[in-house]
Symmetry: C4
Subunit: 277 residues, 4 copies
């Protein structure tokens, strides 16, 4: 990436993704908890499925666009991997970023397949997403060779967020629908997004005054700063969750419970859909 924009762009993607997930999981959990208050459950289930399809398609789309941008934007390798004339690899950085996007596009495609058809087992969307985050962290891990101390340090902080997210999504393979894990995933995604922005500000300060990349005090400040980002993302997720929960509940209270009879009959069947692993 090597530029402020190169860090701000993925940062914005992850920020949007984190907010989206917070909203989606809060909404789904709130409707699930308040089902006794009535509401058009049928419709809400269908709309949830449509949400999933939308999310998967957008993830696939963004990832493909990202891959194409890394390859064909100005200075990209244009699918050539080896410069035979100079006897060296061509634009390895762009290729690495394209590889990261590739895994997110695979995760999007898997999720699309899972929710559009019923051929693959439900857990595969989480598994593919976990592998996507794992691969992102894996590539960053071997990315840091020979950089200055603070540069390595800010990327190590990033790895905590990325591998943490991979672990949480992997746990979701076994505990699908556990709302604590889902909110933790949203918070870590927000953290990753805002931390990308922070990296941009530290390594390529728009103000112009460079940071001293070898000062130990800077390193201590950055460690603490990472914790603040975590705290802010936790508070954001918490506040959004409470707001959406209360909104859903008050709307459901106002809706007259017309279809209660119908609901009771189908409840078991509808619910079980969630937990098929």
């Amino acid at each position: 990436m090597g530029s402020f924009k190169g860090h701000a762009l993925p940062g914005s993607f992850f920020l949007i993704g984190g907010l989206w997930w917070t909203g989606k999981f809060s909404f789904c959990h709130a409707t699930r908890r308040n089902k006794s208050l009535g509401s058009s459950r049928r419709a809400s289930r269908a709309s949830q499925c449509r949400l999933e399809l939308l999310e998967s398609s957008l993830m696939l789309l963004f990832a493909v666009v990202g891959m194409l941008a890394e390859q064909f934007a100005a200075g990209g390798p244009r699918l050539r991997l080896y410069e035979a004339s100079e006897n060296r690899w061509k634009d390895l950085m762009n290729w690495q970023h394209a590889t990261m996007y590739l895994f997110f596009s695979l995760a999007g495609a898997a999720s699309l397949l899972v929710h559009a058809t019923d051929v693959p087992p439900l857990a595969l969307d989480r598994l593919a997403l976990a592998l996507a985050f794992f691969t992102e962290g894996f590539l960053f891990l071997y990315h840091l060779h020979g950089r200055s101390m603070l540069d390595v340090h800010v990327h190590q902080m990033l790895l905590f967020a990325v591998f943490g997210q991979a672990l949480v999504v992997f746990l979701e393979v076994f505990h699908r629908g556990n709302v604590a894990l889902e909110l933790l995933r949203s918070a870590l995604c927000l953290l990753q997004g805002s931390w990308f922005w922070q990296i941009g500000y530290v390594l390529y300060p728009p103000s112009g005054t460079q940071w001293d990349l070898t000062d130990h005090n800077n390193m201590m400040f950055i460690t603490m700063c990472f914790c603040w980002h975590l705290a802010v993302s936790m508070v954001t997720v918490g506040a959004l969750y409470c707001a959406i929960s209360c909104a859903v509940r008050s709307r459901l209270r106002r809706t007259p419970p017309v279809e209660m009879g119908l609901l009771k009959l189908r409840d078991g069947e509808l619910e079980s859909d969630d937990e098929t692993v």
Copy 2:
């Protein structure tokens, strides 16, 4: 911190916290096991909820007081982070400790929200507490750069207790109410508290005779000493548990089972409250 008092204070907090948790969990487990002996279950459930609210409020209060003390006590940074005149960060140590308190205050607030309202899912109090312990360990981990061997070693021992506690509380997200995990958490909290005191004694001996911070024999002794602290905290937790268990049982035996009929009907409903995740 850099002083004997600076280590004794958090040590005392964790000691009190560990004893409180041992008492609370022993009491709850004992009443749950002896429910067939009768007792005013309704009341005991309500009192348990009040216990949780009290615990959360106290945690929030102490953490906020701690934050204010770190900021405004003599020599604190008073919310200024950067000393522009000298071009350096101001009192980073105090800021780091304030950050640790910040996460415990978030955990307290989350727990208060969970138990006072029923909006957030029950598991969030454990998740927030796990993140608080994780952040504490995380900040200590990058705290040790450039210190002498024994200093690093005693703080590494501390990290075992802190990260162990973070892991145990995270496991409680999935195994809520598992009494083995709860007692392990209490024991690790006691261990952390008494180890803070030990660190104070080693690094800032009140007797005046300094330890040789580079002697390998001292390091071996300290490792062993950590194990003794663990053994003492295990025995303390075990003894308290047995005492409280026997006390609860003998008191329940004396109470005539007045409300048995009422109890039987509500049992399922009351019990299920515990395990809603």
Copy 3:
């Protein structure tokens, strides 16, 4: 091994194994899911058991052949371990590879015992397989001392696949029949197989032009290349799974559901067989 063939041979074994597992697990999962469509379940269960026996026998056979080859092929130690005349160990490499085969033969034997008799508990076949993969990784881990940077790096990549597989199979001890884990295991097995080929190409290029084993760019390329192997194996497993699922479903739809009545009665009993741990 120290030669192109020495890496291509185990690579081919693992590739075949990965394809076999993908096929087996896809087939089993597809028949389990479509049981409501009817089909001779009795027969399919018997054929599944026969598949397991076949797999175990082949694993045992290959592993024994591998052990004998390492011992008695040209240049092998022929069961002599210590060369007393020269005061040194004899052909330690061959012995190490024979040890790896030994554990796979133990896993094959355990699986044979489990599926042919009903004496050992069902979970032992996974446990023995997990230990086999763990031992493979363990021996590779202490195999790398004093090699050049890229050589170490490609073997480290291999370790990710091997230990990942050991972990996944160990998790299967507790989550037997979880299709996400089974497909992940198949993908990792394919990855391991194709990576063995890649190691052969990098360290002993058949084309003759040597790689620069100390170039940092080569290392970055190899890291990325490992991710591509993972992506290809994920896509392969996914495509095979979908193809087999659709084939099974369309075949079952064509079969008239003759034995439905019989089926309903025995369903519970048959199903429970799967999950006895």
Copy 4:
């Protein structure tokens, strides 16, 4: 320890412990599986409880004897920790070994309390045992400073067995009675025991010819040797399990199922005892 005997003694303890556990778990699992064949279940449950009490008492006894031996045997510190006259710690090695025994005595006492009274929760015996193994590994981990390469290496191998065992016993807190974990624990205990003997042979060879402690080939051989120990202990556990299983089954087949009626009624209640966590 510093002598051949000092390694052979704990080795023998762990070997006996491993064989005992293999026998106990095989016997319990075999009787549980064959309960439909009839047999005096009441009696078998009582005898199982007596087995547990015996095991706990022996563990406590051996650990206390071990502690006393380390303290009061020739050259022991006799409970003095600090030699004020020479300004140095006294016999730190003996104190460390006594600490290891201390934790096993705590585990024995906890297990005795759990099985003799019903005050503590059932899972505490596993938790205390897991902590005992963890502490053993923890002390060995900081034991290795400044030794020669092969000496460090053989103790690192030991750590794999010790920490593996700690992990397996900790998993048993959640999966109590999982026979795969119990047999794995037995195998790792045998491995630890035989490895102690191997360490004694390598570092203090009774034959007199010293090993070259800095030779890399010796290190590779030792790594492989550890795998062989693992293989032998796996085979031993497997063979014992099968022998005991078949013996129990054939004996139960010969016993006429007198008390079937009685059995059916109490089955649920008896079984549930096992899984109360």
